[in-house]
């Protein structure tokens, strides 16, 4: 019985990671529970320079989910490498760094800076809906996706995963472009573009007007996206979007994900990832599986 998975040559002790932006830089969680039990930790987006993020309010609740328009606030790659990375590397699990930028050169600069660091994997964020330049602008156009991924792949020393947006006509087409450009894997989905209105103030709820919808409300869309992309690509998929139980995670694996990420649920219940890992283990035992990998894509 094994929960181990292997993604692009990187061994994970179980198929569970965190979705970027819901786990800070891990230190927020490290005092609460044993984060080394995670298969991998995916940290918040890192840009070449510090980004201030969007004006508040940045958060709103919606039915069964939440909106965020944080806007990738981060301290920049130097601050990340000097102040955050040493503690992350000491955790004792794989570290995935989410890379963001406004231009192609931005992404390459972060990847080059990380090429000599001991991070295990990279996740290219071409899907954040909350920044005016870069981000989703790349991820909604298959030609730009191809061009950016190709350039980044040349600079990357670690496996490069590409995080896709569901805010497109055909997510499988973008995934195919990323694979053709040399991506080692696909991560999906990022948040769905949405909004809310504060009826007391008669204004959009979020300072940025639009934000990304996440949480249990988006899970069917996420699952469908993983299912569609699995049919079209042969590289591994890390599936996410609304996962808050082991059953949810198992669905993603069956749809074709080799691993899963827990996002919004981390904000609601610290430690839920451990319940999910335990629940997946129970599932494997109860069903007499030799390995969790036996069920990847089994629903097809």
């Amino acid at each position: 019985m094994s929960l181990n998975v292997s993604l692009s040559g990187i061994e994970w002790k179980n198929p569970v990671t965190t979705a970027s932006g819901t786990f800070g830089t891990a230190k927020e969680m490290s005092g609460l529970y044993d984060i080394s039990r995670l298969g991998a930790i995916t940290v918040k987006g890192v840009a070449p320079m510090a980004w201030s993020g969007n004006p508040p309010p940045r958060i709103g609740e919606t039915y069964g989910g939440m909106l965020n328009a944080v806007g990738l606030q981060n301290g920049g790659i130097d601050s990340f490498v000097n102040d955050e990375l040493p503690d992350l590397l000491a955790v004792g699990t794989n570290i995935i760094v989410n890379v963001c930028g406004r231009t192609m050169e931005d992404y390459v600069a972060v990847i080059e800076r990380l090429s000599t660091e001991k991070v295990d994997m990279l996740e290219l964020n071409i899907s954040c809906p909350n920044v005016s330049k870069g981000g989703i602008a790349f991820g909604t156009n298959s030609e730009l996706t191809f061009e950016l991924v190709k350039m980044c792949k040349q600079a990357a020393r670690q496996p490069l995963y590409v995080k896709l947006s569901p805010n497109v006509t055909d997510i499988a087409e973008i995934a195919t472009a990323a694979e053709a450009a040399g991506a080692d894997g696909i991560t999906l989905i990022n948040t769905l573009l949405g909004m809310s209105i504060d009826i007391k103030r008669k204004k959009p709820l979020l300072g940025n007007v639009f934000g990304g919808l996440s949480g249990p409300a988006i899970m069917p869309v996420a699952l469908r996206s993983v299912y569609q992309v699995y049919k079209k690509v042969s590289i591994p998929i890390i599936g996410m979007g609304g996962i808050s139980s082991a059953e949810d995670a198992v669905m993603f694996l069956m749809a074709g994900a080799s691993a899963v990420a827990v996002g919004t649920a981390n904000l609601i219940k610290p430690g839920i990832v451990l319940d999910i890992i335990d629940g997946i283990e129970d599932y494997v035992k109860e069903n007499g599986l030799k390995s969790i990998t036996d069920i990847v894509g089994i629903a097809h």
Binding site: G24, P56, P57, E61, V70, L267
Partner: protein
């Protein structure tokens, strides 16, 4: 920080229209709390997933009881209002930095639902110095006031302002303070943004601590959702967003950048 899945509610009563006092039995969390911190309450309703951050109004560490005051603002607080004694609720905390109590005379300024966190602070100020002069300025909309008796027990002097003049000074707390010659001691305040902005102009010669409120995602620093604009000359645009939940909710007034507008 402790996550208590089922804390027992001892009391949940409406004090004035839409303002409730909830007393929760949670010795583990109460033991760790200090004034100005808050706890997350969860609705337990799958359609309403985000925590509601509620500041600590009163602590009884001996009995292990936390008292919270909240106003019905929306779906989550409406769910809380429907709970009764002996029901349970999920509580996570304590969260945030809390007030740093300074020596000497203290001025407390509270507006509306910003008043409750100042009560435990008043108790702490009194406990640490029985002879200390503590003046509280409490602002309400109208004659439906709450906690005034409790402040009277702990403070040397309590001044009340109401928007409609039905009790005490007719006007807001800033005007009341101005009419009494301003602020000349360490001040601690919590209330609506226009009040806090006004106070930061009034208290330029005194140390002023402001407890802020912002929409939060997690309450413990992971999501960076509850942004508070702080001055930072080193930053590209001259400011930096800090997290209300982790870096606050209490900030030194001089560090904050207030925007115009009515939020």
């Amino acid at each position: 920080m402790i996550d208590v899945e089922k804390a027992i509610i001892l009391e949940n009563t409406e004090l004035i229209h839409d303002v409730y006092r909830m007393r929760i039995n949670s010795p583990e969390i109460a033991e760790l709390c200090k004034p100005g911190q808050f706890v997350n309450l969860y609705t337990g309703d799958a359609s309403s997933i985000l925590p509601r951050p509620i500041s600590i109004c009163r602590l009884d560490k001996k009995l292990g009881v936390i008292t919270l005051l909240y106003r019905i603002e929306g779906k989550g607080t409406r769910i809380f209002a429907g709970l009764k004694a002996d029901d349970s609720i999920r509580v996570f905390g304590p969260l945030g930095n809390g007030f740093k109590v300074q020596n000497g005379t203290a001025v407390l300024i509270g507006g509306g639902i910003g008043i409750p966190p100042l009560l435990e602070l008043a108790a702490d100020l009194r406990r640490t110095d029985p002879d200390r002069i503590i003046t509280a300025y409490l602002g309400y909309r109208d004659k439906n006031i709450f906690l005034a008796d409790e402040f009277n027990e702990l403070c040397s002097n309590v001044e009340i302002a109401t928007d409609d003049g039905s009790i005490g000074f007719h006007g807001n707390t800033c005007d009341l303070i101005k009419s009494q010659g301003g602020i000349s001691a360490t001040a601690y305040a919590c209330g609506p943004i226009p009040m806090l902005r006004g106070l930061s102009k009034l208290a330029q010669n005194s140390k002023l601590f402001l407890s802020l409120e912002e929409r939060m995602g997690c309450g413990f620093g992971a999501c960076v959702g509850c942004a508070v604009k702080t001055a930072n000359t080193a930053a590209e645009q001259g400011f930096h967003y800090k997290r209300c939940c982790m870096d606050g909710p209490v900030f030194i007034a001089d560090d904050l950048v207030f925007e115009d507008g009515d939020r």
